[in-house]
């Protein structure tokens, strides 16, 4: 039985967020919400990460950074856009330097709306992300077997 979903390590990247969503992401690791009880570790290293949390919209300066972080993460991996800005660009959408949501540069799996996204909805998104992570891991294992 695969237990891969019991150990999802998160990588949190702040695009051009107002920091509202970032504070809420960090709030998830505090004693009140304690995401570590699901085996989540908030890692700082893309090479060790399974779930990529992006907050804030993507601008022309950080587009390459977001792309590089995504590419450095080993498969299977899941991307979660946290907050309205990361989903669509939010109130910054019309700005000359903003490309839009995270999905303008990398494939996003799960969208968590909210301005700022509440810790409860972030945890909900992470739990959905973990289920998808397990699914992707099973697919990867099956394709490896086929090869």
């Amino acid at each position: 039985m695969s237990t891969i979903h019991k150990s999802p390590w998160l990588l949190h990247y702040d695009g051009s967020s107002c920091n509202g969503c970032d504070i809420e992401v960090l709030a998830c690791t505090t004693p009140v919400y304690d995401v570590e009880r699901f085996g989540v570790i908030n890692t700082g290293n893309p090479m060790h990460a399974d779930i990529f949390l992006v907050t804030g919209g993507v601008n022309s300066q950080n587009a390459s950074v977001v792309k590089q972080i995504y590419e450095q993460m080993p498969e299977p991996k899941v991307v979660i856009a946290v907050g309205t800005c990361a989903c669509t660009g939010g109130i910054f959408k019309e700005c000359y330097n903003i490309k839009g949501g995270a999905d303008t540069v990398i494939p996003v799996d799960i969208y968590v709306p909210g301005c700022a996204a509440r810790p409860e909805s972030i945890i909900d998104g992470v739990v959905k992300g973990v289920a998808l992570f397990k699914e992707k891991a099973a697919k990867l294992a099956a394709s490896e077997k086929a090869n």
Binding site: E36, R37, G39, P74
Partner: protein, 296 residues
Amino acid sequence: MTVQTKVILAVCYIILAPVVIGLLDGFDRKISARMQGRKGPSVLQPFYDLKKLFEKEALCANRAQLFLIRSYLMFIMLSGVLFFAGYDLLLVVFALSTSAVFLILAATSTHSPFSSQGTHRELAQIMACEPMELLVAVGFYLATVPRTFNVEFISKSFSPNIIYLPGFFIGFVFILTIKFRKSPFDISTSHHAHQEVVKGVTAEMVGREYALVTLAEWYESAVLYGIVGLFFMSRNPFSIVYAIIAILVVWFLEIVIDNTSARVKWQLMLKLAWGVTIIAAGMNLFLLEIIRSNIR
């Protein structure tokens, strides 16, 4: 000890060390979480993490890295086998030092700035720990009658060696905080997720490579806890109970240190390590020599 017993002990070490240390690590995370007012993950979490890392995609910047990491693991296992089968303590310490060289080579092979920075700190940490590790071997040599480095003889001493070596014990427990990669958040690589140099020496190790490093660290911890226990071993068959109690006390102490000194920096850690080594182990060595010369 017969050769058969030695082989059985060595095999027990290879099979049981990851299980025991993994469980201790799981309880460590649970207790740490409770100390911080959180629920914490399952006690089996370290095993889930290890299994997941083996299942991840193999990405590596340099093929030599995996070979170097395997060598790191092999040398640590060799030192553990030598220790638990009751061979030379000095050889155990040297095998551990040799393994560290392979970790450093593996980290530098990728030329990542974070690994390089981690390597510099790892070298500084080795500089801080190594004198104490060697002194422990010397201490056991001087305390046993007749003088020997043989772990089997040391574990069958007339009285527990902690009586002669309290300073060595304090010094050794002090460097364990560094060896277990505990609190200071800017050491070469920390068990805590966020740290100054990303993940230091392990920053570029992906999936299986990182899993092997974790496994090697578990095997190394088993040897270090074994040395803690050796201080309490004697001819008395019940001494093994005292040794296990001592190991559990030291394990808990490390958790407390970890949770109370989160903002200690590596510079202070190094200064303290040498200070404690010189004062505690140095004084003990000096007194041991005086006692010995008087007896003679």
